[in-house]
């Protein structure tokens, strides 16, 4: 099914077929399993960046915090983690793909019925909810659903179905944002 109908300017390269993209994504994931014995992720690195920024303002609070403290424990370095380097790669890869596909451009992407200001507010709100949920679940769609899913981890599969459940459960109530 390659007939995409979403916004595509004449200068944009077509997106990959979803199954092809998924296959390559699976190969990347398999590669990280085989080389380093770990998968992909995103929210774990965001947590470390958040802790690092908070550390500028409230170092004692951060080092005594149950969720953040470990990143700054004796002998530990906040950036010393596979995911931190992986996410730097994600930024570069996303940028390279955007520049070469013609889909790079400053914009506030939004549904047809919301203003840019409303979109930014709801993006921030949704992000905050996602950030909280990801820490509670100890991972996100990348680190839990995708990575844990491929290793057949029980909790990761529970997380994945819960994500779809939460999203489909609220979608009707926030339909004005997207439709």
């Amino acid at each position: 099914m390659t007939t995409h109908t979403q916004t595509q300017g004449s200068h944009e390269k077509p997106m990959w077929d979803p199954y092809v993209a998924g296959f390559f994504l699976g190969l990347v994931l398999l590669g990280t399993f085989l080389v380093v014995g770990r998968g992909l992720g995103a929210s774990g690195a965001l947590a470390r960046f958040t802790a690092r920024i908070t550390d500028v303002f409230a170092p004692t609070w951060v080092s005594s915090n149950g969720a953040f403290g470990g990143y700054f424990a004796k002998g530990a370095r906040w950036w010393d983690d596979w995911l931190v380097f992986e996410v730097i790669g994600v930024v570069l890869g996303g940028l390279a793909a955007g520049l070469t596909s013609g889909r790079f451009g400053l914009q506030v992407e939004r549904g047809p019925r919301v203003t840019p200001r409303q979109r930014l507010f709801f993006a921030f709100l949704g992000g905050a909810i996602v950030g909280f949920g990801a820490r509670l679940a100890q991972g996100c769609t990348s680190g839990q659903a995708l990575t844990g899913g491929a290793t057949l981890a029980l909790g990761s599969w529970a997380f994945m179905f819960a994500v779809f459940g939460g999203a489909y459960g609220i979608a009707y109530f926030v339909r004005r944002l997207w439709t």
Binding site: F124, A158, V163
Partner: protein, 207 residues
């Protein structure tokens, strides 16, 4: 025997390279767009489901095959520990935020890298939410760490072998792909020609 587990600087270099590939594929899948991601939840575009389950099945089958021929030691591969309560609660919260914000963390990084300002707002929010979790941690730590945190698999829950579960997951994915194609045809409303159900690598002229 894999995983190789190279020394730290090689692993981190490989992390940047595999992150690059990850971000590149996400963009090419169209996941730098919140509208496309959110459309999954209105059944208008099932790309999220298709990409995700194709990736899971690909990596899963790779591990199963390599394990069966003795090339990979699963014991040395990190498996997310299972905390059922917090993972289900966190997943429900996460899903709600996904539908409101239009991104998940990884896709928001890709979207921000391609110039989406709403993705920067989402990332700012995500960091605020992570900070909020840390702030509330004293009160919720008991729940957040409940559930054992053991290395548990679908195999343990279903009392089936690794290979059998892999086959079942593959069949589940194929069933969902068929459902996804059906839904997309239905939602487009038109009895379109759609001559091929084959999924060739490059966009063919027919499309």
């Amino acid at each position: 025997m894999m995983p190789f587990k190279p020394e730290t600087w090689i692993a981190y270099t490989f992390a940047i390279l595999s992150g690059f590939a990850f971000g590149f594929v996400l963009e090419r899948a169209g996941f730098g767009s919140s509208k496309k991601l959110a459309a999954q939840f209105y059944l208008r575009d099932m790309t999220v489901l298709k990409v995700m389950f194709t990736a899971i099945v690909t990596a899963m089958l790779g591990l199963v095959v390599l394990r069966s021929v003795g090339l990979v030691d699963m014991e040395k591969i990190y498996v997310n520990p299972t905390f059922l309560g917090p993972q289900v609660a966190g997943g429900l919260i996460f899903g709600a935020g996904f539908a409101i914000g239009g991104y998940c963390p990884g896709t928001s990084v890709v979207a921000a890298a391609t110039g989406k300002i709403d993705a920067l707002a989402f990332l700012g929010g995500a960091m605020a939410g992570i900070l909020g979790f840390a702030g509330a941690y004293g009160k919720i730590a008991r729940f957040a760490t409940s559930g054992g945190g053991k290395r548990q698999f679908l195999m343990d829950w279903l009392h089936l072998s690794y290979g059998t579960v892999a086959i079942l997951v593959t069949l589940l994915a194929l069933g969902m792909f068929a459902g996804a194609e059906w839904i997309e045809r239905k939602m487009r409303g038109s009895p379109e020609e759609d001559p091929s159900e084959t999924h060739s690598a490059a966009p063919t002229p027919a499309e």
